[in-house]
Amino acid sequence: MNNRASIIGVGSTKFGSVLETPELKDRTFQELAAEAAFEAMDDAGVEPDKIDAFIVGNMLTHTSQIYSHSTVLSDWLGMRLKGGFHFDTACSTTNTGLGIAWEMIMSGKCKNVLLVAGEILSSAPKNVFPLDRKAVDAQTLWEWTDYGVDHVYAYHHFYDVASAYGAFPTIGYMRKNKLTFEEMDKAMMEVNRTVRKHSSLNPKALLYSKGTLEEEAKREGFASVDEYWKSAKNPFFAWPTRLFSALNTADGFTASVISAEPEKYANKLPVDIAGFHWTTSNFPWYGEDPTDFPQDKLAFGEAYKMANIKPEEIDYLYVHDCLQIYQLILSEVAGYVPKGQAWKYAVDGKFGFDGEKPLNVSGGRHGGGHAFEASAGFETYEIVKQMRGEAGGRQIKSKLEVVVQHNHGYGMHTAVTVLKKGK
């Protein structure tokens, strides 16, 4: 048995497109997974032969053309003859993987575990050769992605993810807090403004080179962010949710090395996995109140119990923001901000990396990009860099002893992990 499991190394590719982004172009899934894994192992100071097992996440086999992920990737990662398996909880995978690694280590079976995941959403092979690819249109991509939702009943009843996962929770939040549409729309604009501020400071983020929302509004010829927000460039995805409040899909690969013996490897601050919990629900994920997903309340509560923390001790929170309304809903469910107040925190800019309650400072799933099973790893990367003081221009200056990472996996898994600064 071991008595701790700490993240000692993290890696991430740039989030972009294998068809266009120079850092990703002309590379196979295997090579990009290796890039993230090597960065994590180098960061940890761990050689491949010291890794006891590796676990791999990837959701869309339509685009990766891989089923037996651990075997196919083993040689490329330097993991030949190591124990490994593919696992999947959709977009929460690399968060769930932290808990799985904890279990593998605390059981005593492993000293060091490599967690790696990747997703390609821009394109699929034209036939069987992975480097000969064609772009995938949004509707086809969602057709494949929606296999994560009940296809026995729900899908055939005109299933609409923009409404179910975006519009309804937003309408629910408006009604619960007695907000007018104008107040809600302004709050969501400010959420996006902060999202873009963060991604403009994160070189690995999808929208890094697009700058801030202010800069983009000017470039597009608008006199103000408000004008841009309300323009035809930002249509309603499903009223009252606008397009800019939704995710941007990306290709990306991330990795973490988790160890029972951080003191043996790189001389960098380890981040301890202090607690975690997972929950699952088939569709529908909520009843009459779309702001109340029972699975999230339970996951936060049990993770906090395991880590022996109270919400007021959280110094930084990441919540799954495929639709940015969850920044408001889940920051309240997590107990990070008082109930009914998150929209005001957003309007006042308090969720900025330099604000009172830093939230999603990587740029999240809109600014950072969403590479399904790799995305949670992008946030773990951010958390570890932040806790070490390595986050550059978006460094949170206030104390970072306790951090909570929440992810949803479509549709719907919840993973919540509590991370504490190690010694």
Partner: protein, 131 residues
């Protein structure tokens, strides 16, 4: 184990909308599954749903799922059935022609609704019509 799903869809073809009532806790699971959604019991009996419900909210996406793209725009909403469970489905009798219309219509909700079985591309499903 009985073929629950097939029986449900066969029932729709005959105009019957059914759910599963739990013999242990009394909750209704709709549409029916292998266990009670509330208490996980497998002791279930088939019941006929009343077909009555309340439309809680609705919206409409600009990116409908591929199978329904040629039927857009589709008003999609949450209906709380009289028996308790919520069904997410098409709502008839509401205007989704513009974001402003959707906003205005939502201000009139919640409102009563009744279920109907419709055939969509060869499959019978349940939609609700706002009364």
């Amino acid at each position: 184990m009985e073929p629950i799903v097939k029986k449900w869809y066969d029932g729709l073809a005959e105009g019957r909308i059914t759910g599963a009532k739990c013999l242990d806790c009394g909750a209704v699971t709709f549409p029916p599954m292998t266990v009670c959604r509330e208490c996980r019991s497998r002791h279930l009996e088939t019941i006929k749903m009343s077909g009555k419900g309340t439309v809680v909210m609705f919206s409409s996406t600009i990116l409908p799922a591929k199978p329904f793209a040629d039927l857009a725009p589709i008003p999609y909403g949450i209906v709380k059935t009289e028996e308790g469970p919520c069904l997410f489905t098409k709502i008839e009798g509401v205007d989704c022609s513009s974001p402003e219309a959707i906003g205005r219509e939502n201000e009139k909700l919640p409102a009563p609704a009744e279920a109907k079985v419709v055939n969509v591309k060869g499959l019978n499903i349940v939609v609700f019509k706002k009364l």
